[in-house]
């Protein structure tokens, strides 16, 4: 039982020390005028680890302002910075790199 206690305390300490780093970016839904909003329909996203992967991979791209994942509808909403763009192929590559498969892509100019 003491081993279990040690492990539990250790786990709790680490949980407090590591920030929750995967909050969704609100920017995707409050993008600036002149920006573009992508709605990417994706197959295979079923859990928060999937959403985390997509958020991280898209978030590292210089053209991306914010990412929002909608697990209910299997969609990724990506806000692009004003004047920046991602081609269909680039979006599909990012989805594949996250581990998932793109079904469709829609663009909306804001």
């Amino acid at each position: 039982m003491s081993k279990m206690m040690t492990m539990t305390l250790g786990a709790a300490a680490i949980a407090l020390a590591i920030p929750a780093a995967v909050a969704q970016s609100p920017e995707a839904e409050t993008a600036q005028p002149g920006a573009t909003l992508l709605t990417v329909s994706v197959k295979g996203m079923v859990c928060d680890f999937c959403a985390q992967a997509v958020t991280k991979v898209f978030g590292r791209n210089d053209a991306v302002d914010g990412v929002h994942v909608d697990l209910d509808n299997g969609e990724i909403h990506v806000g692009l910075k004003p004047g920046m763009s991602l081609s269909d192929e680039e979006v599909e590559t990012l989805v594949n790199k996250s581990g998932y498969a793109m079904v469709s892509l829609e663009r909306e100019a804001l």
Binding site: K3, M4, T6, M7, T8, L9, G10, A11, A13, I14, A15, A17, I18, A20, A21, V22, A23, Q24, V42, K43, G44, M45, V46, C47, D48, F49, C50, A51, Q52, A53, V54, K56, V57, R60, V69, D70, L71, D72, G74, K97, S98, G99, Y100, A101, V103
Partner: protein, 213 residues
């Protein structure tokens, strides 16, 4: 920085205290994962880095009280195949580790390792998985397999607290109690996954913790 040292100290303490069943042994490119598994027979820690969504490599340490050895080594995980569907995902993984086994007692350490396969299928409501491993820990060759089924009583979106009710059946032929059934609850919040279970046959608790960052 102080908090960083505290985390490192706590991590070291946990590593020394413990030593395996793993869900999703690969992450996104550039992602790190901490996987700690504990039950009455063995405890393990696996910390790995994923250069791609198909591969991860890291350290693996397992302390096996049921069979009296402690293994420390390097583990490689490979996502062999993923099936992405609109409402489901299925995966097939290969795992291998090589390192050193220290038997409890006066015997000296020996080269050791294991190979394993794992598969899972899940939707946002249902979960199933299977894993089998074969160990060679010097004078001791052993195998272990486990299967799980789970259901989520409610569906949450990204960032909500997700709860799963699961049942695990584990078989270790060399163990005193070769087959055990463990009901468990999985809590999944943000980047952290915690599992708490109890095995009536052995009267032991299960405590698993995974964090991805």
């Amino acid at each position: 920085m102080k908090m960083g040292f505290a985390a490192f100290g706590a991590a070291s303490a946990v590593l020394l205290a413990v030593g395996p069943a793993e869900a999703r042994p690969v992450s996104y490119p550039g992602g790190w994962t901490w996987m700690q598994m504990n039950n009455g027979d063995y405890s393990s820690l696996h910390v790995h880095y994923s250069p791609t969504f198909r591969d991860s490599i890291g350290i693996y340490s397992e302390r096996n009280w049921g069979e009296d050895w402690h293994f420390t080594g390097v583990q490689y995980n490979r996502l062999v195949k993923r099936w992405n569907e609109k409402t489901s995902q299925a995966n097939l993984y290969f795992k291998a580790a090589a390192g050193q086994a220290d038997p409890f007692g006066p015997e000296s350490a020996e080269l050791a390792g294991f190979v394993g396969v794992a598969a899972d299928w899940e939707t946002r409501r249902w979960f199933t998985s299977y894993e089998a491993r074969a160990y060679d820990v010097g004078s001791n060759q052993t195998a272990r397999q486990a299967a799980r089924v789970g259901i989520a009583p409610y569906i949450g979106d990204f960032g909500d607290l997700h709860t799963w009710l699961m049942l695990q059946v584990e078989n270790q032929p060399e163990s005193e109690t070769p087959t055990t059934v463990t009901p468990l609850v999985r809590f999944f919040y943000n980047v952290q996954l915690l599992e708490i279970g109890y095995t009536p046959e052995t009267e032991e608790f299960m405590l698993n913790w995974i964090i991805r960052f």
